[in-house]
């Protein structure tokens, strides 16, 4: 069975370019504002969307996403709102996944969560704090729902372990560009390219790079060696530094347009 995400990577590979994957926490900056962000993503050229499930203890996230998630949580975002945002994103014709820490899935029920992803036309779930060693219940649930299970690997992941982790990945492998948490940075770590090359030796699953990617130049650089470029904090920064939701959405749209050029320039 092939998800919309699987089909996307077939398409971008045939176009010899990387896919642009954009992240926004559900309910940020508001429930309605989140839909406006998703519209901007869809209209300006994002290839896939990650809907974040805001969580109280986001150890993998730097201050930008942690604070955005907290704002959304305080406004009452829960599983219902996450699936609504997912349904909205997929209704715009964009392959979409949910990114969530493990406990909200466990609390909701792994099979029920996977089924809800599928019934909202979602392609899969990224689980940043679920090592494959603990993932058996989730693997069974996601396989039975026909959705992708996307795990994160890091520069510290050994070659032997890369084989083990990527064997459990479908959709794409999420390669963390550096040892650290999410957040915009001035440059892409040199370790990212090495990691992607090591991953490519052990799997044919597409590889997307996240953590610290925020500009057209970054996107171009990463697109030269990876199948996908993931951007998150930069959109939140764009929203936060604007004076109004309207100008924030405009800034998001402009950034997407730039990044969409970047992912097409990498292999020129």
């Amino acid at each position: 069975m092939s998800t919309q995400l699987d089909q996307l990577f077939e398409k971008t590979r045939s176009e010899n370019r990387a896919a642009l994957i954009a992240y926004i926490p559900a309910g940020y900056p508001t429930q309605e504002g989140c839909k406006a962000v998703i519209d901007a993503f869809a209209d300006a050229g994002v290839d896939a969307i990650e809907i974040g499930f805001p969580y109280s203890d986001p150890v993998m996230d730097g201050p930008t996403i942690a604070e955005a998630a907290n704002t959304s949580l305080m406004a009452g975002t829960g599983a219902k709102e996450v699936f609504e945002a997912l349904a909205y994103a997929t209704s715009r014709g964009i392959p979409s996944v949910v990114m969530t820490y493990w406990n909200p899935i466990e609390k909701y029920g792994a099979q029920k969560f996977a089924d809800s992803i599928a019934s909202n036309s979602g392609s899969g779930v990224i689980t940043p704090d679920l090592p494959v060693d603990e993932a058996q219940p989730w693997k069974s649930a996601s396989q039975s729902s026909g959705i992708n299970s996307i795990f994160v690997v890091a520069p510290s992941t050994t070659d032997k372990r890369l084989e083990k982790v990527t064997a459990q990945c479908s959709g794409f492998v999420y390669a963390a560009s550096l040892m650290g948490v999410t957040g915009a940075r001035s440059g892409i770590s040199s370790g990212a390219k090495d990691l992607v090359q090591r991953i490519k030796k052990v799997t044919k699953v597409p590889v997307a790079v996240g953590l610290g990617v925020s500009t057209r130049e970054h996107a171009k650089e990463v697109a030269a060696y990876a199948d996908g470029v993931i951007v998150g904090s930069a959109f939140i920064n764009a929203l936060n530094s604007a004076g109004s939701l309207e100008s924030g959405i405009k800034a998001v749209r402009t950034l997407v347009e730039q990044l969409a050029l970047g992912v097409r320039e990498g292999r020129a």
């Binding site: 109280s56 986001p58 993998m60 599983a79 406990n103 909200p104 609390k107 679920l130 060693d133 510290s156």
Partner: protein, 399 residues
Amino acid sequence: MSTSSTDTRAGHFGQFGGRYVPEALIGALDELEIAHNAAQKDPEFLAELAHLHKTYSGRPSILTEAKRFAEHAGGARIIFKREDLNHTGSHKINNVLGQALLAKRSGKKRIIAETGAGQHGVASATAAALMGLECVVYMGEEDTKRQSLNVARMKLLGAEVVAVTTGSRTLKDAINEAMRDWVTTVETTNYIFGTVAGPHPFPTMVRDFQKIIGEEARAQVLELTGKLPDAVLACVGGGSNAIGIFYDFIKDANVRLIGLEAGGDGVETGRHAATITGGTPGVLHGARSYLLQDENGQTVESHSISAGLDYPGVGPEHAYLSEIGRTEYRAITDAEAMYAFSLLCKTEGIIPAIETAHALAGALQIGRELGKDATLLINLSGRGDKDVQTAAEYFGIPL
């Protein structure tokens, strides 16, 4: 390989424990596990640690029989294991000396730690000073106010104290921030975890460094009374002092092991930190255990007058021991704990930590239930110097 008798699969205690962390930390946790297992079998390491216990922190800690306090506990025989007399004032030093020695052996130059009440932070800063390591302690901003004396102690010892301003600004958020630091600095830094929670190998490793409390106490009680105690009591936040004193008694099926959790305003009010009594299974801070959470799996803020117990999680081995019925847990309210705190001051001339006062309140209950023929062993886990301000405010003593 594990040294535990209750580990059912490496790093797991039944359905609890495990590792729920970003992949970036897996290598470091593997390394730590290997280093710990090797050290536990290395006579040189064990001798070095034993030497520090004997000449630096003051082990073995003594037993004190509390006859006047016992009059209020149904006349039961009450025996304290005096971890409050350790250097730095609590059981926390036992674990920290072990982990800091491991860091040194692994060639790490920097240690980080989280702290709630500040006792683990002070112990970490102490060990870092002793061993020449750089030390950064993460502490919730709320706790830096409640425990300002301990903040000053850590600074005097040369540590950097980072006040954490995210989330509820307490221990849970300090752990998040320390984890974020560690993800970034893992090559040069060891994270010295303060309790028997967190991802494997921390629950096992911290237990291994704390079980000396029970090993000593079991022998000491046998020597003093000629028999095993009827019950062993300890307060439980994350659960390190409790596992420490329980562990050597797990094999003694007739000895009741009772953990006293922080009931805050009362478990029924929702304002408490009694994780096993009032929580549900889930994942927090890298392990499956009990936690306080809402219907979306979001961690709920805990409440306790005791900063050291004010934590919405608990160690996975406690969750497992509770599930198999080997241990029992009860909640003690703030008011009950403060009554016991005051009683101990006035009957025995010992000012306990407010954390420890929860175990003392438990002793008053259990003693009355079991009567005068019973013997209770209580872990007097910490002294109350750090709590003088909180207690003075509570009892209306002008400062």
